[in-house]
Symmetry: C2
Subunit: 338 residues, 2 copies
């Protein structure tokens, strides 16, 4: 049995397809009389507009895609959770893609144009891509980038001020009296921009306090996972002169580090204070709860969607801007105790 079409409705109501379309979309003015006729016919036939046809006629899909490296990373899950309602409110459905941080996958996504796909715009949280990779993308694709990038002027970038946030985090450790502070998560290579900004903050806080930086206390990790934190912390504890505090580049890293410390019979924060980054829900319930930098995820989501909608709606190129969401330092048990 064929689905009923707009044409069927028009016939039953004794009007033209044009009028039905007007009624359905709330366009133009339609007499109350005809509107009612049409609506009755729609109800009677159980008519539902065919989105596929509408998409073709409109040349847009009403969908945006959100691309994240990993979905099971709490930070991205929480971010996505915030983006979806924001997008829905703006009338867009959300497609989700995960890249596993694979640069090839990431470039193929940004490289392809909007038209080739079924989304009108993209919110992209890159991991494996360096700034250069990003600029080879299809310029016709409305794009908002999250995280630690800098806009080259052709897309928008939404993030918090990582250097400032990191400086605050390390400043907090200094304030509570720690002097041998380690950092876990550095990534001194092109795709590690996020990490490098945090490292910069680490140095800035030391400089501000007149403290020297022990370079050997800056530990690199391939990713920002628990296991990376656990491993790096173990390496730090193996040293003759372990640190009395650690700035971890994510809450997961912090969680892993704490795990190692407790397993070694050390106390947090008495022996080693720990501060993380991201404010994921986990950090609020572990033992100890994890001090952290909390980015305003709701704001990030709102701003990202808002800018993307603006880009998708504009026929002329929109200049890319840098947008900053708020962040704040949340001291918890892992630095200030119980």
């Amino acid at each position: 049995m064929r689905e009923t079409t707009l044409r069927d409705v028009a016939e039953l109501a004794g009007v033209s397809p044009r009028t039905v379309s007007n009624v359905v979309n709330g366009y133009a003015k339609v007499t109350d009389a005809t509107r009612e006729k049409v609506e009755r016919a729609i109800a009677q036939l159980g008519y539902r507009p065919n989105v596929l046809a509408r998409n073709l006629a409109n040349g847009r899909s009403g969908q945006i895609v959100v691309v994240v490296p990993y979905l099971d990373t709490p930070y991205f899950a929480e971010l996505l959770q915030a983006i979806i309602p924001a997008a829905r409110e703006a009338g867009y459905n959300v497609l989700v893609d995960q890249t596993d941080g694979d640069p090839a996958h990431e470039s193929s996504l940004v490289g392809r144009g909007a038209r080739g796909l079924l989304f009108d715009g993209m919110i992209f949280s890159p991991l494996g891509l360096s700034q250069d990779d990003l600029s080879v993308r299809d310029p016709a694709l409305p794009l908002v980038v999250l995280g630690e990038r800098t806009s080259d002027g052709t897309f928008d970038h939404v993030g918090i001020d990582d250097v400032a946030a990191s400086t605050e985090a390390v400043g907090h450790l200094i304030e509570i009296g720690r002097r041998r502070i380690a950092a876990i998560g550095d990534q001194p290579y092109p795709t590690g921009e996020a990490a490098q900004l945090r490292t910069r903050g680490f140095r800035a806080a030391h400089a501000a306090a007149g403290l020297p930086v022990d370079e050997s206390l800056i530990i690199g990790t391939a990713r920002f996972n628990r296991i990376d934190g656990a491993t790096a912390m173990a390496a730090l504890l193996d040293r003759a002169d372990p640190p009395d505090a650690v700035f971890c580049y994510s809450d997961l890293v912090a969680s892993g580090a704490i795990h190692t410390l407790l397993a070694h019979g050390l106390r947090v924060p008495e022996d080693v204070a720990i501060i993380g980054y991201d404010d994921i829900e986990d950090g609020r319930y572990g033992r100890p709860t994890i001090s952290t930098i909390s980015p305003d995820k709701g704001a990030i989501a709102r701003i990202a969607v808002e800018r993307l909608v603006l880009r998708m709606g504009s026929s002329t190129p929109v200049p890319g801007v840098e947008l900053r969401a708020a962040h704040r330092l949340i001291p918890r048990q892992s630095t200030i105790g119980f």
Copy 2:
């Protein structure tokens, strides 16, 4: 500047649109000579097929939607992470929807027909919906339901054997010598089927061991979150006769319960043993690590996608079946110590 169309390619290559379509889709036989001509034209023009037009012509969108209650719940995030690659492999993109467990939102999703939307099928993990609500859905929508439901024969259901798994979990607590076992997470109302199956397993394990069930040790919670676990555990500790073990209906609940125990100065598992459910990544890194029931999420994802693809591809109604993925008990520190 207009995007190049299939027609443009045909013109440049000196062939008909039909032939270009054949080349693009790998259909039918095309002479190597013409294929090459066409491919050269495609490359030269930078042609990309318009998915929107293709969708309309095909009458399908090539998308499936995955509906979960909450995205920031690790279990669902991990499940989604497994579903996305499985779907992509089958040639489908994944739309994501979260319902916040809102029954109205959930029914509106299942109630609307496939054609009204831009997905060809749905993988649905309901929370607020009872069995009855589910059966009012549009029968034309290919549907696979996850979690603890029973198929009414018009959709497939994929899940693990919850009663068996719960019985094993509680059996494990009994095996390690616990006798006063509590359960946190019961939901004795229509939408709480998941919880009720776990409670049934709780009873079954007691029965199998010849132990009586203390009904007052079965604690209900509105959701399966950390805060619910923390609160319920606190209530249990307020009693004159607290339990020596707790079966938590999710790892998050377990995590919350452990938090409360540690905060009260109790030891896990020495004073109270804890077992959870879901095997989320968190549970493998906390302190103590959480014993749990581990559902084979990869298998669930694979089976769900496979069945959905089968449904979407069939013109005649496919009888709904019950499909079971494997699960296994994973003892960790929270029951067997360090």
